[in-house]
Amino acid sequence: MTGKENPSPMTVPAAAPPVHSDTAAKWFILSSIAYFFIVGIIAVTIAAKFVWPELLGTIPAFSYGRLRPLHVNGMLFGWLLAADMGLVYYIVPRLCGVRLWSEKLGVATAVLWNVIILGAVVSLLAGWNQGWEYAELPMPLDVLVVVAWIMFGANIFATIASRKYAQMYVTLWYIMGTILWTAFVYLTGNFAVLFTTGVNQANLNWMYVHNAVGLIFTPVGLALAYYFIPKAGEVPLHSHKLSMIGFWSLAFVYVWTGAHHMIHGPISQWLQTIAIVFSVMLLIPVWTVVYNFIATMKGQWPQMRDNVPLKFLMSGVVFYLLTCFQGPMHSLRSVNAIVSKTDWIPGHAHMAVLGAFSFFAIAGVYYVIPRMFRRGLSSEPMATWSYWLMMVGGLGFFVTLWLGGFWQGWQWNNPSIPFIDTVVALKPVWTVRFFSGVLIFLGIVLFAYNIMATAVGASEKRTGAAAAV
């Protein structure tokens, strides 16, 4: 905490003298990409089940009700959170101008994390499901997650405590916020629920589900965007003040909104109203943050043409803006009566988790891998292809589900239409969704192959620029 101040809080501090071994970061990132690929296969399989409901239908472990939680947990914890943690291990030492407090502890955390994910695969396929969304994993695995999170948090906080620069860049606030809030949110969703029943339990469950996105994936995703947009674009951040407003308004507003998952449902009306009011207030942090990113890119847009990390980052920013416009709108009672419980919602959720937060993480991985392994990316054209496949597949996925879901909700609100007709009406939508999913999956394959090839050194060219970091 002694050391010199940064010249300005708006520039990401330059890479500092210590040489980083990045072992923990590499372990986390490479294993997360393996899960991205494997869980991608499961994702395509469950999309196919909507088109061919009998597919794998006689095998209990591969039925829809078992594969769906594996898809959700695998993508959230096996891929996205693990990739985010890996990138945090890369970013924090560089922002602090010191080495990671303990690479050994980091590697141990990565090993434990893989044990948890493999345990999750086995238990979810076996049907050991606790019955709460996002908190399906059986109790022993929940305890291990807590242990892993403490190991991760201790390592990161100890690194920050020994930093050379007094001024903490905005990315560090979001990372610290993520670590602190996740602890409470996770304990609520996985342990506090045990002592409650019925609506009381549902309320805690939704507090967890909502904040798993809002106070885990959102802040860590924004931490990445705040770091990689200026880095990849080689521009200073537009405004320090806006980043403060965005951060503290998010810190205060997000947690109040859990009950918006039960609008019109059996939960007290006044609590629904509170959740609606705060959901609309979420527009404040979102619009400040997005404005800050867009203003940072002023005059830099031509760079998007051949800078793959920037392509993913700025598309992610647009998806983030859209998702977080939809969210508050869904909470309004009139809109909710149409879209809630329909296929619109997976369209919305995939735009958040894939379109926004996974895009940020993918951008980060494309940026750090050549620097960590000190060699050029195996193939630039392949990286561009992965972007377009995920972009086109993603848009096809989101847009068809919104249209289909809206139509479905409209039909449900006319009770003279038999329910089964509303199922049959959606079949073309689910077919398009399946093919869009295939495109996304092909994008994942190219991404994963490219990164692995770079990591094992299949690249011909070694760039001096990358080696300098």
């Binding site: 610290m176 506090a192 009381n200 339990q201 469950n205 205060f252 919602i345 089964i420």
Partner: protein, 189 residues
């Protein structure tokens, strides 16, 4: 105070936790204290106050069936809540009589709760007694035999396992039965 948080990590930690905990406590700990219906089981014997009835705890076999419902992920496709939306009460209704809306006091014995978030299939909050055992057996064996165009998966390993099948159906038949709302009390068993 916020001005100093970006140079002092301890100050930051305190501020971040305070911001979070205000909303956190107000929305999780306070509501059940304010709203007694979240934990008081439904009971009404006065017809002028709406449907009569009483919520009873699950029996052993019903709990076993409920665990199967959880294990097989039925709750990813089926909700259990008739919302304050007219169409919901009509769709959950029976022979032209609308179902009552779901209230918190009907769910106090539920753990895990199974309200659900997605309706790939119809809401099941009032499905108890709608169909008989034979219907369910055929339906679990292959839903498309009864409802062409259905996308519900087949569950042969339940239909062919008599104890599991009986338990699951016993549970399904409890759904929405706390309130005695059907005018002719004409439930299938």
């Amino acid at each position: 105070m916020f001005g100093k948080t970006d140079v002092s990590a301890p100050l930051f930690v305190v501020a971040a936790l305070v911001c979070f905990l205000i909303g956190g406590l107000m929305t999780t700990v306070v509501p059940p204290l304010v709203d007694a219906s979240w934990s008081r089981p439904f009971k009404n014997d006065d017809p002028s106050k709406g449907p009569t009835g009483v919520l009873r705890p699950y029996t052993e076999i019903e709990l076993k069936g409920r665990a199967i419902y959880v294990r097989e992920g039925c709750w990813y496709c089926h909700t259990q809540q008739t919302r304050t939306i007219l169409a919901d009460t009509v769709r959950s209704g029976w022979r032209g009589v609308n179902a009552p809306i779901s209230t918190p006091d009907e769910f106090v014995y539920d753990s895990p709760h199974l309200f659900g978030t997605k309706r790939t299939g119809p809401d099941l909050s009032h499905v108890g007694g709608k169909y008989d055992v034979q219907w369910h057996r055929t339906h679990f064996r292959n839903p498309r035999d009864l409802v062409p165009g259905s996308v519900m998966p087949p569950f042969p390993w339940i239909a062919n396992n008599e104890p599991e099948f009986q338990a699951l159906v016993a549970y399904i038949q409890t759904l929405g039965r706390a309130k005695d709302w059907r005018p002719d009390h004409d439930y299938e068993q």
